[in-house]
């Protein structure tokens, strides 16, 4: 019962895997950017306490975090057409991933903002700055440095979670892999190669984020 490994079909289809990888990368980056914008907004509002908007966002965050990403993706892709909204699968993937990630990012943003000492805002206010000016000039620049490491983790998680969009017919890395398996039946080999590609993607990202963080830290410590 020797293990009979044959990577030829995977290697022959490597261009398809690369195409899928490009889709995975672009969906992840676009989603991350959108998620950062939404997450920043929600995080800032929620860190400021008890407005109606902040209550609404509380519900948003707990619903998004309390339900599986796959279910959310299916709702956007299969559910929305039932109410007359038909989006291309690519957009559904971006919508699903960015909303999902925005909830987590908003928590990162809120945590970072609330971790800044109370005296910082007080000093800003006592100089005559408005709350908004204190936020943009004093609090957020400090909070961003504290956000970077957890945001990096979120980005890594997003790359891995993006494999789920293959289930709403987006031709990402995972989807291309499944295609190879359906013609070659080389499932172990294909999944191994895909795993390696995801591993490389996440580790390159980690490396880039680390060096970015270090630069930030250095520039602050002068």
């Amino acid at each position: 019962m020797g293990l009979d490994l044959d990577f030829t079909p995977v290697i022959e289809s490597f261009p398809a895997l690369l195409d899928g990888t490009m889709i995975t990368i672009s969906v992840t980056i676009i989603s991350l950017i959108i998620a950062c914008v939404i997450g920043m907004l929600i995080g800032v509002v929620r860190s400021n306490g008890n407005s109606v908007l902040s209550c609404f966002f509380n519900v948003y965050v707990s619903v998004i975090r309390g339900t599986p990403l796959l279910v959310q993706l299916f709702i956007w892709y299969y559910g929305l057409p039932r109410v007359g909204i038909m989006l291309p699968s690519f957009l559904c993937g971006i919508l699903g991933l960015s909303l999902y990630s925005s909830a987590y990012i908003s928590e990162i943003v809120r945590g970072a903002i609330q971790s800044i000492e109370k005296g910082q805002m007080e000093a800003a206010r006592s100089l005559g700055m408005s709350k908004r000016q204190g936020m943009t000039k004093i609090i957020i620049p400090q909070a961003i440095v504290r956000m970077l490491p957890p945001l990096g983790n979120e980005f890594i998680a997003l790359i891995k979670n993006s494999a789920l969009i293959s289930l709403i017919t987006i031709h990402d890395l995972m989807h291309e892999g499944t295609n190879i398996i359906s013609t070659s039946y080389r499932d172990l080999e294909t999944y191994l190669v895909i795993a390696v590609i995801y591993f490389v993607l996440t580790n390159i990202s980690t490396f880039i984020l680390r060096s970015f963080e270090n630069r930030q830290l250095k520039s602050q410590a002068n």
Partner: protein, 251 residues
Amino acid sequence: MKYKAVTLEKINKFYGDNQVLKNVDFSVNSGEVVVLIGPSGSGKSTLLRCCSGLEIAQEGDISVCGQKLLNDGVLLGDDELNELRQDVGMVFQSFNLFPHLSVIENISVAPVTLKIATKENSKKTAMALLEKVGLANKANAMPANLSGGQKQRVAIARALAMKPSVLLFDEPTSALDPELVGEVLQVMKLLAKDGMTMVVVTHEMNFAREVADRVVMIDNGIIIEQGKPDDFFTAPKHPRTQEFLHTVLNA
């Protein structure tokens, strides 16, 4: 000219059920240096913070430089309050420098943000202020690389950059190592000599004796005694004042 820089009338301030300021009447003349003393938890910080609108007293009236900050327990509107705060400088026990900004940026960030001065002019002003507090050579340092005494002197320069009419100090030397207290007090003496209106919460009784025009004792949210430093320190009347001075001076 002896107009009032700060006036508090019948101030009552509560945290929940806990009444922290009890019917406090307090005023500061323009150019006057008032030292506020009292045991921990007596309401000194709260009183200062009410003067700059960082805390809201539920009852009473507060005026700063002729403008009503608190009218029968109602605080001034946001925009006007922000503007009024430019006139009331605050120096905190924990410095509260902005760690992401260099020393000179700490001083110029508010004038620039509030469009009181151009970037260029505010840098010039900031340099002049650094000169004044003896830290011109630290203009480009980051706060993390300063000693406590240097930090507090930068914080004073930062407050001065707004050209306030009153400067409030909340235990400015309490967080400092003993050998660094002097340099901060030195700067404060300089300001007093320049005629700055100051309210100083401190346990530095020598400073009070030397610099204050008036010493005010607050205990349990009540102003129980005040007077010229000479009278106040040689013959305190209230037993609580005697007791407090005894513990502080023999510490």
